[in-house]
Amino acid sequence: MSNPILKVENLHVNFNTYAGTVQAIRDVSFDLNKGETLAIVGESGSGKSVTTKTLMGLNAKNASIPDNSRLIFKDRNLLDLKEEEWQTIRGNEIAMIFQDPMTSLDPTMKIGMQIAEPLMKHRKMKKEDALKRALELMKGVGIPNSEEHINDYPHQWSGGMRQRAVVAIALAADPEILIADEPTTALDVTIQAQILNLMKSLQKETSSSIIFITHDLGVVAGMANRVAVMYAGKIVEYGTVDEIFFNPQHPYTWGLLNSMPTTDTQIGSLEAIPGTPPDLLDPPKGDAFASRNVYALAIDSKEEPPFFKVSDTHYAATWLLDERSPKVTPPVQIQKRWARWQEIQGQEA
């Protein structure tokens, strides 16, 4: 069934800073299947953007990647590519919608031209035709009166309009892998829905694959086939979207699902995960989440948990899944989710 277009194997990314080496990505492996949407969720600073920027060959100058890290795309290790070779892949076969729209737009170039440029470069389209397609894409991402705005500069647009421009640029290339880093966070929900639908329909047409990074678990629920949860430079749990939402196993995933307000959260405060994330200059021994985890076991501070198998598609790196561990009762909200899981399983059986 699985048909990976991309294999990430043992990825490590370190950043050299004055204060020392920041170990931003600490052994991340995952597959991306053709035609699927993989959502990456997790703590702010856990390495989602660094992972995906690495896939675009766009890491900061102070980044270093050890030799045993491999990113296999079309039988090549992307990490071996020279900058000229990247030129034909980046923005073409693999395109990315960046988290910070203002930094990926050129403030001195008209927005219409910025969308048309990759079409002229990679598809060898004539300027006229490229601009026509640019206009279609501007309409597609919901820029009202697009004709009037095609010659605008980025500063004339609102935050959300700029973000839509960035989406249009990435979609213009018709990439095989689309990486979307928080593509809709600056958008109101109606336009968000419009853009997500556009992404979905383009994906259906071209069976492209999407890596979708977002903090909005509602968006994850609607877009993703599979979900990977990151914490402190590692993937701590991955599974199908139903497995992560209804049968979560890692205490960090529990905390994440528990932090959301629901419409019946009225009084009192939200359930934030206590404490702060570990310092990646000097990551703790054992399970990096242990110090914030009320379910932590003694072994967590000594030895890093391996991935335990929950199902063929679902794995979690927590000692709680070891058969020798005591059975714990998760938070009430999670128990409710597990009950839903039983129901869903029952319906399917």
């Binding site: 204060a19 702010s44 930094t103 309009m161 109606t190 869903i344």
Partner: protein
Amino acid sequence: MTGKEPKKLVELKDLQLYFNKGKANEVRAIDHVTFDIYEGEIFGLVGESGSGKTTIGRTILKLHEQTGGEILFNGEDVTHLKGKQLSAFRKDAQMIFQDPQASLNGRMKVRDIIAEGIDINKLAKNKTERDAKVQELLKLVGLNEDHATRYPHEFSGGQRQRIGIARALAVDPKFIIADEPISALDVSIQAQVVNLMKELQTKHSLTYLFIAHDLSMVKYISDRIGVMHWGKLLEIGSADAVYNHPLHPYTKSLLSAIPVPDPEVESVRQHITYDTTIETDGKARQMIEAAPGHFVLATEEEAALYKAQQV
């Protein structure tokens, strides 16, 4: 509402801001908007992207010159503030910007970015006190001490957003305009920041204009909510009223588009589309009080209809 009227901290009266006024590309970013923000409340502003929310925030802070109308802060017309009063206003009213990358000076260390306002307003007696304040603020927003000596580009999107929050809080403001302060944060840190904002609201009687797209968070944090579309305020009321008994068709459409964090529900959710013709038919509309404290921009007939649709 019974008893004493709550004190108004910010009053917008028929505010207008047109970009490129009189030219072919005129944009009515704020089109005759009137509302008040009461002292100590969190006022949530939601609405379509490009509807003028950020522009309202920037205009209140005098970063744009209004085309028409008035802005009062503590009863004073801010357009006339000068000298001492102006610098006091600049300290009392802070903004957390939507685009953290663009609003942080990349050549400054995080410590100095956060302390900038402390320095300008001479809020620390000496270096030890300054450093201690910075440490406290970093902790408050969930960052740690060694982040103080790093530069903005070394941070993730959400971490940068928190630097912006710490910087705004550094000067003990009375009023904070928070423009999408949490959308770049993971849900747990969102919860931390929102809890922090609420705590400061009660402890320091801070007042907020909270601009956001995440409607469930807006509902949770806000006392009252205003809904904007195309430069106009369409509906205003208590968070519960707007969320549970929306009147305007745009508000209804917006609420129906909220993604639900449940894959099963998400696969069948229906989105109500909004027909914009009611904003372009040229009929005169005004804010009509459909229920106590709950206003909608409508004609008399529409208001009656909206009320009748309520159950």
